[in-house]
């Protein structure tokens, strides 16, 4: 007479996941004045926009979404990144009924399968978190880009004014707020 066994296994997985995404780009700053002075002017305009000076020539700002923007005013390199963490706690139970086999072998195989499924679920959850991080980053990008373009344009205008003063007597400065265009009249010599 055959013997039937009911085998149940329960496995859990607890993991701390850490995902990040980001990109790097470069600002184009014209060499109107020596590079150190251009860096100072850019730093000043970044400070107006909530950036804080960090080590070396790096200025940093953290947005509400957690996106971090780091600008190296000496090189013009911009790093935009977002990191998020999550605690995963997953549990899964599986049962099966077998007959005429060693129940321990079946239990071992079933446990292995459940662990594998938990790993797959953890990977799926991690990837979902990464996709969410990427989405937030993409949302923040256009605003960051506009802000940095604006800071670069203002710093360039500041540099032009400074350069103009070194050439002669500045008689008129006109700025178009819409286009950002700057017209400077200089009486030379």
């Amino acid at each position: 007479m055959s013997r039937c066994y009911r085998i149940s296994v329960s496995e859990s997985l607890a993991r701390h996941v850490h995902v990040d995404d980001g990109l790097q780009t470069k600002l184009e700053l014209l060499d109107i004045l020596p590079s150190e002075r251009m860096a100072e002017l850019l730093g000043a305009r970044l400070a107006e926009r909530g950036y804080e000076a960090k080590e070396g020539s790096v200025w940093e700002k953290t947005l509400e979404s957690g996106v971090v923007v780091r600008v190296d005013v000496a090189t013009g390199t911009v790093d935009i990144s977002l990191t998020e963490e999550a605690a995963l706690e997953l549990e899964r139970k599986r049962s099966t009924t077998v007959a005429d086999v060693d129940p321990r072998t079946v239990e071992e195989a079933l446990r292995k399968k459940v662990k594998q499924q938990l790993e797959e679920e953890a990977d799926v959850a991690t990837e979902a978190l990464r996709v969410e991080v990427t989405r937030k980053l993409e949302e923040a990008l256009s605003g960051v880009r506009k802000e940095l373009d604006d800071a670069v344009n203002r710093a360039t205008a500041d540099a032009l004014k400074e350069k103009a003063k070194s050439l002669g007597e500045v008689t008129e400065i006109t700025e178009d707020a819409e286009t950002g265009a700057v017209t400077i009249r200089v009486r030379v010599g």
Binding site: D21, G22, L23, Q24, T25, K26, I80, R130, V131, T134, L137, E138, L141, R145
Partner: protein, 339 residues
């Protein structure tokens, strides 16, 4: 006169002919994907046929792949420009075949090219004919859609160039290669290289997987950086004209250009991977923009300068490419660098 060879030898010689001529794709695939029998040494009759096939076939291949064009190019030094077809400009150059040609062909025939294993390294100074054979085998592998086999020919810089970033990258000593006949092969094979790079560019633009795209693009960047540096140093940027030829194929009409950036990258991939793919995608557009910027040299060459003839020839070839087309590539480079 009838020549008798063994059956296995006749199949091998048919394979060689298909490689030299660019035979039907399905036949090439069957030949290259299979493990075909051949005795360790072919007989003297088969060897004689092989030698004649290589001599005639390689000359024809060189003509067909671009050597037929009548052009004015510097020969020997930048101040000495010669007009004519490839063999007119280099009448004293011989296609030399050493044992490496035989080794490449036997290896390609007897081993299934579905494995990514490199064949024997070339000798210190392979002959010009050997280099051409390696190039033709690489071409056959790509035509037969057997890219794994490209690892076999990766040692030959010309095969690397033809693969346009799709072969495993091997460090190339470009100056040494150019010094030992590579410059003549670049002149003669420009059309074929151009078509291959155009195909690689279309593949990149239609690809959706960022990391695969980044891998090919970064390989192209490394390849082109080394080559263009070596050519600029020797004042022979005209040898990179195959890139302009590719550009003409990719952008047929500058007034209605295709989109020169990958637009369908997998949306669920990370921004980092997508930006890496975009930056790598700029390998070709950056190289074309570099060549466009280098045209200031020929433009500023005066009629009494010794390099005037070569400069004028380069400007005539540039006119076929055109400033409008160059602008399309320059704009694409700028967009690919932007976030």
């Amino acid at each position: 006169m009838t020549l008798r060879v063994a059956r296995s030898e006749s199949h091998f010689l048919l394979f060689v002919r298909n490689v030299l001529r660019g035979g039907p794709q399905d036949q090439l695939f069957t030949h290259l994907a299979g493990k075909n029998p051949l005795y360790p040494r072919i007989g003297p009759t088969a060897m004689g046929i092989l030698q004649r096939s290589l001599a005639r076939g390689c000359v024809l291949a060189l003509a067909r792949h671009g050597g037929w064009r009548r052009e004015t190019r510097p020969v020997g030094d930048p101040e000495h420009a010669v007009d004519g077809r490839l063999w007119d400009r280099h009448p004293d150059v011989h296609l030399t075949f050493r044992s490496w040609s035989y080794q490449i062909l036997v290896w390609s025939w007897t081993r299934p090219q579905t494995d990514a294993a490199p064949f024997p390294r070339p000798p210190t100074r392979p002959g010009l004919g050997d280099r051409l054979v390696a190039f033709l085998v690489a071409r056959a592998l790509i035509e037969a859609r057997l890219p794994q086999g490209l690892a076999a020919v990766a040692h030959e810089p010309l095969a690397q160039l033809y693969a346009a970033g799709r072969a495993p990258l091997v460090d190339v000593d470009w100056p040494a290669w150019l010094d030992t006949g590579g410059d003549i092969l670049l002149e003669g094979l420009g059309e074929s290289l151009g078509r291959s790079w155009a195909e690689a560019e279309r593949w990149k633009l239609g690809h959706t997987e960022p990391l695969a795209l980044a891998e090919v693009g970064e390989a192209q960047q490394a390849l082109l950086r080394g080559l263009l540096q070596a050519l600029e140093h020797r004042d022979r940027l005209d040898l990179a004209d195959f890139l302009l030829h590719a550009g003409q194929l990719v952008v047929a009409d500058p007034a209605a250009p295709p989109v020169l950036e990958p637009v369908d990258l997998r949306a669920s991939s990370s921004l980092r991977d997508r930006m890496r793919a975009r930056a790598a995608c700029a390998a070709f557009t950056d190289a074309v923009t570099f060549l466009a910027d280098a045209m200031h040299g020929p433009r500023s060459t005066r009629f009494f300068d010794d390099t005037y003839d070569a400069a004028q020839a380069r400007l005539r070839r540039w006119e076929r490419f055109g400033d409008d087309r160059a602008r399309v590539f320059r704009d694409a480079s700028a967009r690919l660098a932007d976030i």
